[in-house]
Subunit: 294 residues, 4 copies
């Protein structure tokens, strides 16, 4: 298939490379051109304007950081949408808001395009290995058309329904649960430290019994060491995602009390100039609340 | 060793049986005598009064349900403590409060006994298989003396420190994290249902990606089916444990905001006559809050 | 002074009438023209386009319901801003977001206008009587120019500082405190009812001792009667304001845990089709959580 | 009537004095004897053992600080209860838990005594002036017997029902609402400070408009000055009362989310060695959470 791909960050690069290596024609655009050029050895075609990826595209894939980045491409650039052929599919794979997903779908329908949402779970190395978990939603026939691409990028596709926004909702729910797990671990660590239990030992207990997950290992390790400087996901991004989950829930009239708790802790982190630390710094916030840190 | 064992519930029976089978002399007492007699084929000696297990005991093991049950044996029965030889060890393996653990330790010291706390993680079948995770705390030499017994009952011992109460604290922190995980999953399910996503599919996503744990599978399954009748752990017991965790945290001056949230949801369940349902019924509470259930 | 006045709802009508009666030239515009015409006997001049109030205006007053209504007039109508003379003052008196206040200020500065925010506390009859409490912020000299107008509309002006947004922030903080008071009263009523105490008696106690305020009387009365149909302020509007307060706090990096609690209760009300009830219906939500209502 | 009075703190002294001055025979006991002797000029009879106040008493009044103090007198002293004549009334006027109120009632019934609960609202000067608000509950005829005494001590009696514990419940609800008001004011102050609004001006706004109450003035003044050293009610006492309210609510199966929030803030204060500061120090906690204080 002819694929246009925009957004070559740590995730997008691996995804686009795998598509190109699998033999698809992949036109790539990235604001920082060197990231696009890095894909040329794999067969990707580098273009110098976003709308150029649209020409002759069967599928447009966006892997952009957030609503604003997607909006800048799709809505703010008047030449972009007309360049995408009627009947083409836009597959939005970044983590965006439910409201933005609905809005973009509406816009595309108005241009005779098809739209599916397909946010992913996994990090850069997983993307590189083509082993992402993909949450996909949209019209079944459109999903079917894209399935070969999804199978190249991911190890499994979770199909949440025919409304594209349902995939975004499910993704935000996952991030919400992740935030809640990190927060509860952070609160537990504060108790544990006050009881003079070795945090590393407690983490062994947590991951050796009830919660043997990479999530608890990775974020728990930062909290056990009380070092959040090598950010996996920053406080700023974490708060954005928790807010998106809370907004999605509010749109559906669902109270989400745990999101409120995490939100307050992340704002506390912002107030202490920890915006660029990993969001597991809520463990430090819990320590501060317990008088263990400044 | 000569072991006295009190508390032959679903956990204690397996633990006592394994000790007896390993060749230790195990005197057992249980209020319901038939549960004690069931261990006779394995070599256990059934006695008809709690204090009888104390006679000549090197180690007294209690696996009682809660503070009240332990208090009834240790504090309320005037014949019990004098029956336990000076120098004997009491290993308290039930989930009790930090305050009770400290109190019992004090009482034993006054009688010339030693005291360690060794609460466990795992369920009946795991106890039966001698594969429990054990959190132990107390004087290192006392722990060392008991280690052969711990190794019979469990697959691994997590040693949290020389103060017995630290093991109880760690156990309550685990239960707190478990409660938080169940609550966050319940909240997510409410969002998911409102977005018309299949709950079973969402559970596959949760357990197939970020949270591949038995906890998420077992409790998530009840929430996905919205059926909490085959209680693994009731609302009443869950609220008791969340309260114990909150009290332990308060004693250490640690705020525990997520415990507050879970507590309110469990009380909501009590108010809807769900005391005997599994505590994952907080998923139903979240549904009610979202207008999805009565 | 020459005044342009837009927004003749229950509050704005009284405010504009008082200005006209005091001898100022007041040009009025309202989408529903009859509301404007009702002010003609008091000397107001009715115009048929929003921008017409701007002509020759010294001061433009807007008393619009929310951000969207203000945006529609100021930002979306290309003829509006050019019609307002350079040097004219825009006094925004509705309850708007901090973000919108900052944005509007910026726009006006670009057109050579001056901008102050002056949200009010009080209801229709208070506005009619010229007895509002006004929270004003902006450049001191601009406030000084407007003070005679503020003194006509209100009984007292609280000057929060030279940054207009500070007045909006203070107003949102008042609304937040109001929401918290209503929520805490609602929670207390649920306890009181369960203890079989007469809610009316409890309200007498509340308002006869610690909280002798109109707020506790008015909203407490609805909660004591469990009847929220004659809405003073709807759930929809209440949630909007609580969200605005939470956003303003987030922008300033201030956690606001009580706002999170109220927000969840208001969303619970939305989920139970109570959007148009008075926001004191959080008392019903508390009853539901306690199993006292469906 | 013959009155026995125990507990001559800042509240009890004024209450007992007023009873003595009104011509009742009042036997007083206090651990610190000088406080009892200070009432002799008013006609009170000082005794040197708690049970001595019981002799020939028609009514025993306790105005003790908490459950423990009451328990020490009523339950732990084996000579006390037998000394109180059958048919005598115990009127418990301190702020005690619902559980303790029920327990004490039960004990008295077993001794042929009558029991009513009559906690009060007001401070030392109000007690001295005989202007307390009294919340009373118990059998109507017993209340009627005591009404003349209540009318001496208070300006108004709020009768909550025939179950004594209902008065304790209502009192705890009042304290809960007070705590919530202080907390919401503290959160608002943090926002206000970050927006560079003068806290004193904001307090004027709060007390000059929606919340013209002594409560908002007294506690708001401490928060505006960020000085909590002249404690009206300490963090320790505040947390005790919030916990009692939460327990009373839990016993009635009522979730009380705002109590959870306040509880966490008070524990935060404890963790920062502010146990003896006024409980309005939750305003400092809010400042800390916003990065405004250490």
């Amino acid at each position: 298939m002819n694929i246009g791909f925009i957004g070559l960050g740590v995730m997008g690069s691996g995804m686009a490379r795998n598509l190109a290596r699998a033999g698809h024609q992949v036109k790539v655009y990235n604001r920082t051109r060197t990231k696009a050029e890095a894909l040329e050895p794999d067969g990707a075609i580098v273009v110098d304007r976003p709308e150029k990826v649209c020409e002759e595209a069967d599928v447009l894939i966006t892997m952009l950081a957030d609503d604003n980045a997607l909006e800048a491409v799709i809505e703010d650039d008047p030449e972009f949408l007309p360049a995408l052929p009627r009947g083409a599919i836009h597959m939005a794979m970044g983590t965006i808001s439910v409201a933005k997903s609905k809005r973009i779908e509406e816009i595309h329908l108005g241009h005779g395009h098809k739209f599916i949402a397909a946010p992913v779970l996994g990090r850069g190395d997983v993307a590189e290995a083509g082993q992402l978990a993909i949450i996909a939603a949209g019209a079944p026939d459109v999903i079917e058309t894209c399935q070969p691409l999804l199978d190249i990028m991911g190890r499994k596709t979770y199909y949440t329904g025919s409304a594209p926004y349902s995939a975004n909702t499910a993704k935000l729910c996952m991030n919400f649960m992740l935030a809640a797990a990190i927060e509860s671990l952070g609160e537990a660590f504060a108790v544990v430290r006050k009881a003079e239990i070795d945090p590393e030992l407690f983490l062994d207990l947590v991951t050796g019994t009830l919660f043997p997950t990479p999530v608890h290992k990775v974020y728990g390790d930062m909290q056990a060491r009380d070092d959040y400087t090598s950010a996996n996901f920053t406080v700023t991004l974490g708060l954005k995602d928790v807010n998106l989950a809370a907004e999605a829930a509010e749109d559906l009239n669902v109270p989400l009390p745990m999101a409120g708790v995490v939100r307050d802790q992340l704002i506390n982190a912002l107030a202490h100039e920890e915006a660029d630390q990993d969001w597991s710094v809520v463990g430090r916030v819990a320590m501060r609340n317990a008088g263990l840190a400044k």
